[in-house]
C-alpha cells in the first residue's frame, strides 16, 4: 500500500491540476512584440539611489506550470503568458520596448527581467534572444545592476558563463524561488518540483562565476497554520543565508486566479498571511542574520483581501513600514503602533495548531451565524 503521506501528496497535486485546469485556455493572445508589463521606479543601487526598470517579458510561460507536474499551488503566472508563438525577435522587441522606459535616465540603472517562468529556460526564452538581451545590457554602461529570474535547474555552468561574460562587472543576481527550505513543505504544499539540494547547487554554481543569487521565500504556503508558516519562513530565510545567497526576497502568498490556493481560499480553508506575521518574519530574520544580506519585501496586494492583510485599519501603515524597511534595511522601520487586531493575530497563532480550525477573516463574522 502507498504510504499515506504520498497519497496526500498525490491528492494535493491532483487538486492543484484541477484548480488550474481552465487557466491555460483562459490565456490571452498578446501582442508578442510588447512586454506583459513594465514599470520604472527609483531604487537603491549599490550605495546610491538610481532608477530601476522592472520588465515582465511575455513568453509562453513556465515549463513547470505547462508540464504534467501542474505548476506551483499559489502561482498563476501562466495566465500572464501568451498562448501565441513568441519568437526570439519578438522577445528582443519586447526588451527594446521596455528599455525605452529608461531612455535619458542617468546612471546608475537597475534592470530586472522577469518572465512568467524562467529567463534561463531555453524553451521559454530562446538562446539567441537571451544572449542578445544580455549583450544589449552589457553594452549599456549606465546599467549597474541586473536581476534575472529562473528555476535552479536552468542555472547551468554554460548559462552562468555566458551571463558573466556578457554582463562583466555588473552586479548580477539570479532570483530563484526557494519558497521553503523544507523539502517536505516545498513538495507537498507548493509542488515546486525541485529539491533543496538543487537550489543549493545552483547557488554554488553562481558563486563560482561570481554571480549573485536571490532567494524568494514564500510566506504561508497552503495547508499550513499561520504559526507553522511563520516558523517555516524564518527558518527558510536563515537557511538561505547559510547557503550564501546574496539577497532574500520575502513573498507573502497572494491569492492568484485559478490556483489551488484560490480554491482553498474560496472555501474558507485558507487565509493569506497576516501582515503581523510578515513583520514578525522580517524582524526575527533581521535580528539573527548578518547585515550584509539584504532582506527585501514588497508585499503584493498588501492590505487587500487577496493579499497579506490585517484588519483593514492598520494595513496601510504596516505595508508602508515593510516597504520602508525593504528600501533601507533599517529594522527600526518595522516598529509600528499596536493595533486592536494584534490579539486576534496572536490568538490565531495559538489556536490554529491545536484546533486545526482554519481561522479565516474576521470579516466573515465572529460568530458564524451572526
Amino acid at each position: 500500500m502507498v504510504e499515506a503521506i504520498e497519497d496526500l501528496g498525490r491528492i494535493v497535486r491532483e487538486a492543484n491540476i484541477r484548480a488550474r485546469k481552465s487557466s491555460i485556455s483562459r490565456r490571452k493572445t498578446r501582442d508578442p512584440s510588447r512586454p506583459a508589463a513594465k514599470w520604472v521606479a527609483s531604487a537603491p543601487i549599490g550605495k546610491t539611489t538610481g532608477t530601476a526598470l522592472s520588465l515582465v517579458l511575455s513568453t509562453h510561460g513556465c515549463s513547470h506550470a505547462l508540464s504534467d507536474a501542474g505548476g506551483c499551488t499559489m502561482c498563476s503566472y501562466l495566465l500572464d503568458g501568451t498562448s501565441g508563438e513568441v519568437s526570439a525577435d519578438n522577445l528582443l522587441s519586447q526588451f527594446d520596448n521596455g528599455m525605452e522606459g529608461l531612455a535619458g535616465e542617468p546612471a546608475p540603472l537597475s534592470v530586472k527581467i522577469y518572465t512568467s517562468g524562467s529567463f534561463l529556460d531555453e524553451s521559454e526564452v530562446p538562446l539567441d534572444a537571451r544572449n542578445s538581451i544580455l549583450d544589449r545590457l552589457g553594452g549599456d554602461e549606465r546599467v549597474r545592476e541586473v536581476v534575472l529570474e529562473s528555476r535552479p535547474e536552468y542555472v547551468t555552468d554554460s548559462a552562468l558563463e555566458s551571463i558573466a561574460q556578457r554582463l562583466q562587472d555588473r552586479h548580477t543576481e539570479i532570483g530563484m524561488g526557494l519558497e521553503s527550505s523544507n523539502d517536505f513543505v516545498r513538495r507537498m504544499c507548493i509542488n515546486k518540483g525541485f529539491r533543496t539540494e538543487d537550489f543549493t547547487s545552483a547557488v554554488n554554481r553562481a558563486l563560482e562565476h561570481d554571480i549573485g543569487t536571490r532567494a524568494y521565500v514564500l510566506v504561508k504556503p497552503p495547508f499550513m497554520t499561520e504559526r507553522a508558516a511563520l516558523e517555516d519562513a524564518v527558518q527558510t530565510i536563515s537557511d538561505a543565508v547559510d547557503m550564501k545567497v546574496t539577497t532574500v526576497s520575502v513573498n507573502p502568498v497572494n491569492i492568484q486566479r485559478y490556483t489551488l490556493v484560490e480554491h482553498l481560499w474560496r472555501r474558507g480553508e485558507y487565509r493569506p498571511p497576516w501582515l503581523w506575521t510578515l513583520i514578525e518574519v522580517l524582524r526575527r530574520s533581521r535580528k539573527n542574520l548578518p547585515s550584509s544580506v539584504r532582506i527585501l519585501c514588497d508585499p503584493v496586494a498588501g492590505g487587500k483581501s487577496r493579499g497579506t492583510h490585517n484588519c483593514g485599519e492598520c494595513d496601510l501603515a504596516l505595508v508602508e513600514a515593510i516597504r520602508g524597511y525593504s528600501l533601507t534595511q533599517n529594522i527600526e522601520r518595522l516598529q509600528v503602533e499596536e493595533c486592536d487586531c494584534l490579539p486576534l493575530w496572536k490568538h490565531t497563532l495559538a489556536h490554529e495548531g491545536p484546533s486545526m480550525f482554519v481561522h479565516e477573516d474576521i470579516a466573515r463574522g465572529l460568530l458564524g451565524n451572526a
Binding site: P343, H347, S355
Partner: protein
C-alpha cells in the same frame, strides 16, 4: 479509560476518564494556552473553580505537512491533520487517518497510543472511518476529536454525522469555534470535552459571550449588560484600556462556558438535556436547522440512548420537539406495537388535556361522566383515543406511560401544518387497526377537528361528529357526547359485560414495553389481577406473580417468573458472565452480551450462560453500551435468583 455514571439523555455522558494517571471529570472544557510560545496547546479546565488542571492536550505538530515536534511533555497529544483538508476530495479524509496510524506505528516507542487523540477529518466515508478506527482501537487509542467551524454548515454537519459511527467507550473532543450556546447540543451528541478557544477570539474584538448570545461592550449608545461573574465584577468595560478589558472579557467568556456546561450537565442528570437543547435552538436559525437535520439524520443514534422511562416533565414547546427521539419513537412504537383489544366496536376520539395524566384532568372527568352515563357497562366495547400534538394518538390504556404522563405542551388550540400532518397520520394508522364496521365518534373542537378533517378521507369506518365544534367541554357539547353515545349504544349495538379495563391496560402496556404479543404472554387468559387500575395492579397466574403494573410510571415490572416468559420472546435480554448475581446492581463489566434494542429505562431480564434467568431489573444504559463498556452501572436489579 472512560467510566460513565448513571444518567442518560441522548448520547451525552457523565463520568470520568483516566489519562496518564490523572482522573478527569467529564464533561469538561479545554482552555487554550494563549500565552505559551510555539507550539500552542490546551489544558483541561476545572469547570468548578475555573483553574486549569495540570492536564495538557497538545498537538504533535501544526499539521501533517509540518515537522513532528519530538513527543512533547503532554498528557494527551493530538495527532496531526491537514489544515484546509475539507476543501479537498473525500479520499483526503482516509489518507489523513492512515497517516495518523502510520505515525503511531512508526513511533511506537515514543508515542503511547493510550494518550493519542485521533483527529477525525470532517469529510470521510463511514466505511473508511470505521476501518481506520478499528485499527486505532487495536493499538489502544481511546480518544478522538472533531473540528467544527461553528456555522453548522455542510462541513460541521458532515463531522457531526460521523459521531454516530464512533466507538462508545472513547472520549470525544470538539475543537474549533464553539460558542457557549452550542454546548448543550454538542454535549447532547456525545462530545465530552469542548474547546473554549473562542473566548479569546471574542475578547480580541471586545465581545462578551453569553449563554444566549453575544455583546460588543464597546458599541456606542448601548449600555453594557450587567454581569455578576468574578471577572466583570461591575467593571466599566467601555472606559478602560483595551488590554485590561481583554483579560476581563476573556475571563468572563470562560465563565460563560463553565456556566453553560454545568447547566448542560445538570440538565442531563435531571433528564432535561434534550429540552435545553431545544430551548437553545432559539438562539439562532443555524442551531435550529442543525437540530432539525440532526433529528432526521441521526435519529437511530440519538434514539438508542434516549430513556424509555422517567418522571421528569417533558416540555414540548415547538417544532424542534416534533421529531425529538422520545416523541418520534413513541409515534413509531404505537404503530408497531399497539394492538387494540378485541371486541372494540366504537372508537371515541377525544382531545388531550393540559393536565397529565389525562384522566385526572377536569375535561376528562367530564368526558368520563358522559361516557359512563351513556354506555354504562357496555364501555368495554368502547376504545378511547386521545389526540395530541406532537405525539399523535394515545389509546387510553397507555396514558400513564412515558412520555405520555410527562409531556407538557402549550395548549392554544392552533395547530401548525406539521402538527396536523403528524396527528392525522397517526390517527389514520391507529384507526386502521380497528374493524371496518366499528364506528368512530369524534368529540373534538378547534385544531383537533382540523386533524379529523385532514384524516377523514383516509378513515374507513363510519365517522360521526358530536356537536362539539366550539368546545368539547361546554355543557352542550357534553350532552351531545352523551346523546350520541346513547344512540350508538343501540345502533352499533354495544353490549354490557364485566369490566376489562385492567387487563386491557396491562396487556397494552406489555405490548408497548416489550413488543407485540407480549401482553398475551405476561397477562394470559385466566390470570388473576388484583389492585386498582392506575395504582398498583398485580398479575398472578396460578398463585405465581408474573408482573405488576405501576400506575406511577405506567410500566410493568417483572418478577423472575415474568422474566422467564420475556426470555422466550428473545427480546430485552442481557447475558451475565457469572452464574448468580449478588447485590442490587449489575455492572457492564459483568455483561458479555445484550440485546441491542435495550434502551436506558427498559425492564430487562438477565440470563446466565446456562440460559437461566438470574435477575430482572431496570436498565441504566443501552444494550450497545453494556457490551462496549467495562464499567458503569448497567442494570438496577429488582429481583435476583438466590
Amino acid at each position: 479509560m472512560l467510566m460513565i455514571e448513571r444518567g442518560h439523555c441522548g448520547p451525552a455522558r457523565v463520568g470520568y476518564v483516566e489519562w496518564h494517571g490523572k482522573k478527569i471529570s467529564l464533561p469538561t472544557l479545554l482552555q487554550l494556552d494563549e500565552e505559551s510560545d510555539s507550539p500552542g496547546g490546551y489544558s483541561i479546565l476545572d469547570i468548578w473553580d475555573g483553574r486549569s488542571h495540570d492536564t495538557s492536550v497538545h498537538p504533535l505538530s501544526e499539521g501533517i505537512f509540518t515537522e513532528i515536534v519530538t513527543p512533547p511533555n503532554t498528557d494527551l497529544y493530538l495527532l496531526p491533520s491537514l489544515p484546509g483538508a475539507s476543501a479537498l476530495r473525500e479520499e483526503t479524509g482516509h489518507a489523513i487517518l492512515r497517516r495518523q496510524l502510520e505515525l503511531l506505528r512508526e513511533n511506537e516507542s515514543d508515542l503511547n497510543p493510550k494518550r493519542a487523540v485521533v483527529r477525525i477529518p470532517n469529510r470521510v466515508s463511514l466505511e473508511d472511518l470505521s476501518k481506520a478506527l478499528s485499527s486505532f482501537k487495536s493499538l489502544g487509542v481511546r480518544a478522538a476529536s472533531l473540528t467544527l467551524d461553528g456555522t453548522f454548515g455542510p462541513s460541521d454537519m458532515n463531522a457531526i454525522r460521523l459521531r454516530r459511527a464512533l466507538p462508545l467507550n472513547w472520549t470525544y473532543l470538539a475543537l474549533g469555534r464553539i460558542e457557549p450556546s452550542h454546548i448543550p447540543l454538542l454535549y447532547y451528541l456525545g462530545f465530552d470535552i469542548l474547546d473554549t478557544g473562542l473566548s479569546y477570539r471574542a475578547a480580541a474584538t471586545d465581545v462578551r459571550l453569553w449563554r444566549d448570545g453575544i455583546e460588543n461592550v464597546t458599541e456606542k449608545h448601548i449600555s453594557p449588560r450587567y454581569c455578576t461573574c468574578d471577572s466583570c465584577k461591575g467593571a466599566n468595560l467601555a472606559e478602560m484600556p483595551k488590554s485590561a478589558r481583554y483579560d476581563i472579557i476573556a475571563g468572563h467568556n470562560h465563565a460563560t462556558y463553565r456556566a453553560v456546561l454545568s447547566e448542560a450537565r445538570h440538565a442531563m442528570e435531571t433528564g432535561h438535556l434534550r429540552a435545553l437543547v431545544e430551548a437553545m435552538t432559539h438562539r439562532s436559525p443555524a442551531l435550529a436547522s442543525a437540530l432539525r437535520r440532526i433529528d432526521a439524520d441521526l435519529y437511530e443514534f440519538l434514539e438508542a440512548f434516549t430513556p424509555t422511562a422517567g418522571d421528569q416533565v417533558l416540555p414540548l414547546i415547538g417544532p424542534e420537539s416534533y421529531n425529538a427521539p422520545a416523541v418520534r419513537r413513541f409515534r413509531e412504537r404505537l404503530v408497531d406495537r399497539y394492538v387494540p383489544p378485541p371486541r372494540k366496536k366504537l372508537v371515541l376520539v377525544l382531545p388531550c388535556s393540559a393536565r397529565k395524566p389525562y384522566s385526572e384532568s377536569r375535561s376528562h372527568h367530564l368526558f368520563d361522566r358522559a361516557i359512563s352515563s351513556a354506555v354504562g357497562g357496555a364501555r368495554r366495547e368502547v376504545s378511547e383515543a386521545i389526540l395530541t400534538s406532537p405525539l399523535g394518538v394515545i389509546p387510553r390504556e397507555l396514558e400513564r406511560i412515558f412520555p405520555i404522563a410527562n409531556y407538557d405542551i402549550p395548549v392554544t388550540g392552533d395547530w401548525d401544518a406539521e402538527e396536523l400532518r403528524l396527528a392525522a397520520g397517526a390517527l389514520v394508522e391507529h384507526l386502521s387497526k380497528f374493524p371496518e364496521d366499528a364506528v368512530v365518534v369524534a368529540h373534538v373542537s378547534g385544531g383537533y377537528r382540523q386533524v379529523m378533517s385532514e384524516a377523514e378521507d383516509r378513515i374507513v369506518q363510519t365517522l360521526i361528529y358530536t356537536d362539539s365544534a366550539e368546545s368539547a367541554t361546554s355543557r352542550d357539547a357534553l350532552s351531545s357526547l352523551e346523546s350520541t353515545l346513547t344512540d350508538m349504544r343501540d345502533v352499533v349495538p354495544l353490549k354490557s359485560g364485566p369490566q376489562v379495563a385492567r387487563e386491557e391496560t396491562l396487556r397494552a402496556t406489555a405490548d408497548f414495553q416489550f413488543g407485540r404479543g407480549t401482553g398475551q404472554l405476561l397477562i394470559p387468559e385466566g390470570a388473576n389481577l388484583r389492585g386498582k387500575l392506575f395504582h398498583l395492579v398485580v398479575c398472578e397466574l396460578e398463585g405465581v406473580q408474573l408482573c405488576s403494573f405501576v400506575g406511577k410510571n405506567g410500566l410493568l415490572s417483572l418478577t423472575l417468573e415474568g422474566g422467564e416468559i420475556l426470555q422466550k420472546t428473545g427480546r430485552y435480554w442481557v447475558r451475565f458472565d457469572g452464574r448468580r448475581i449478588r447485590g442490587g446492581s449489575l455492572f457492564a463489566v459483568g455483561i458479555s452480551d445484550a440485546d441491542p434494542f435495550i434502551r436506558p429505562g427498559d425492564e430487562v431480564v438477565v440470563v446466565n450462560g446456562d440460559e437461566e434467568v438470574v435477575g430482572v431489573g431496570k436498565s441504566e444504559m443501552s444494550g450497545r453500551e453494556m457490551c462496549a463498556f467495562d464499567n458503569g452501572r448497567a442494570i438496577s436489579l429488582r429481583h435476583t435468583r438466590e
